[in-house]
Symmetry: C2
Subunit: 276 residues, 2 copies
């Protein structure tokens, strides 16, 4: 292994890399952009392989390795895995193999859930992959003696990607998925997928009022900030800041749909063929 | 270009190659297997990239080229593109570049629809990619002066893949998609996606009785048979026949879910990393 040189850099204007299977991670990127406005950000959406939710761990690890190699070649100083499925299934491997700090969304989400929950009865919704990995229950139980109840919601991503964030169909899908969790008397619900914040309103309509909804974006940003400070990696305020967007398929569609997730227009998106 | 030798072979025991984005094409493979029981069949399900429905034409062409190269390396004598999206977006390129006959599901489906329709008012449902390509209306209008009405149904594939082929949610999704087609007074409905035959019952429940449902599988088989006969490519009855299954991800899941589509158990599935 190459020996790292201990050079203390007080400011580092290299970009932060962020990736997801598609659009969902833009909600995390948007939060980072607001909280850390001096930071340059590079986003990669793996739209050739989207969705990750029902694919195998081997496949998710392979996709994640290819994407992070691309981000590293763009000199990122830190990587945010802004996808719950990839955080659940690939983060341990990335942490071992990459030389920059890697932050997933699950540990910060678990932290936020434990902080929000009074009765420590926590529901978690996510993709098949995330739920199957039991990553949230494990992360939560490291922090507190909590009861956790999981439910995979494989139709939520297709619904959001089709723009069906309200209406009769989505309402009946939400009711179906939420019912077993309500029966468990949860007081907190973790939105364990970066698509789900777009379903917040219809979820709130179907939940009892005392149930707190937790999404990882905010707490992930806090973790990013903490690590940048700790490692003296924050960008200088006077530096030239940029936002770049890359995808593995369909840049035009990404521009069009992405703005709903990013909360502002996305102008320049490049398509990249990863080595695999 | 290499010059083809004109050798007349009366029987050819090489396999037929069949591919799809995932499980859907197994409905076509099952029909071929029943109708042509002496033929060896090789199936490729591109489960690393599934679903194809909302991906770009460039991506679909690339995936299709990689898969057909693999099938050709397995000495297939004919290729069936058992996926409507790939038939709609990649077939013309494959026909130009491959040296074996290539059969898509759209022309046979259009033929079947025209044969079935009395009033020549034909509805077509399919993925975003298939509907956007207008392949069915074009193919139908080559055969008859028909009125065609299209509707993309992006939630149908996720519903089928989750096993939700009946029940309240699927019923309301079906109603939503079918409504504008019913208003057009159609007498025939083309199931323009190989997943949709699994929704036949719930579709029939929601359609008026006089509307005929058409799926491409049967007429695709007839076309396969016709080409094999015409080109003297039929297998000999005494030959050793086999069925092989390959996927780009998750062979275990393919075995489990695939049997619903193939109508019998699938025992041996191999995972293949295509060059891309």
């Amino acid at each position: 292994m190459q020996k790292k040189k201990e050079i203390k850099i007080l400011r580092n204007n290299n970009p932060i890399g962020i990736f997801d299977s598609g659009f969902g991670g833009l909600t995390v990127m948007s939060a980072i952009n607001k909280a850390l406005p001096s930071e340059s950000l590079i986003y990669f959406g793996d739209t050739a392989h989207v969705p990750y939710g029902a694919k195998s761990q081997n496949a998710i690890i392979k996709f994640s390795k290819d994407i992070t190699s691309f981000l590293i070649s763009n000199k990122v100083k830190l990587i945010v895995v802004a996808c719950n499925t990839a955080s659940a299934l690939a983060l341990p491997v990335l942490e071992k193999t990459l030389k920059v700090p890697v932050i997933g969304v699950i540990a910060p989400g678990a932290r936020a859930a434990v902080d929000a929950s009074k009765k420590l009865r926590i529901g978690i919704i996510g993709t098949e992959g995330t739920i199957g990995s039991k990553s949230y229950p494990k992360a939560i139980k490291k922090l507190a003696k909590a009861k956790t109840y999981q439910q995979s919601c494989p139709l939520f991503v297709p619904l959001v990607e089709e723009g069906l964030t309200d209406g009769e169909i989505t309402d009946s899908v939400v009711k179906k998925y939420i019912k077993p969790l309500l029966a468990k008397n949860i007081d907190t619900l973790v939105l364990g997928c970066t698509h789900y914040p777009l379903l917040r309103k219809i979820l709130e309509k179907n939940l009892e009022k005392n149930i707190v909804l937790v999404d990882s974006a905010k707490s992930t940003v806090l973790e990013v900030k903490r690590i940048l400070e700790q490692k003296s990696l924050l960008a200088s305020k006077s530096g030239k800041k940029y936002l770049k967007f890359y995808v593995s398929d369909n840049p035009e569609k990404f521009k069009k749909i992405g703005k709903r997730f990013f909360s502002k227009n996305i102008t320049d998106v490049k398509k990249i063929n990863l080595t695999n």
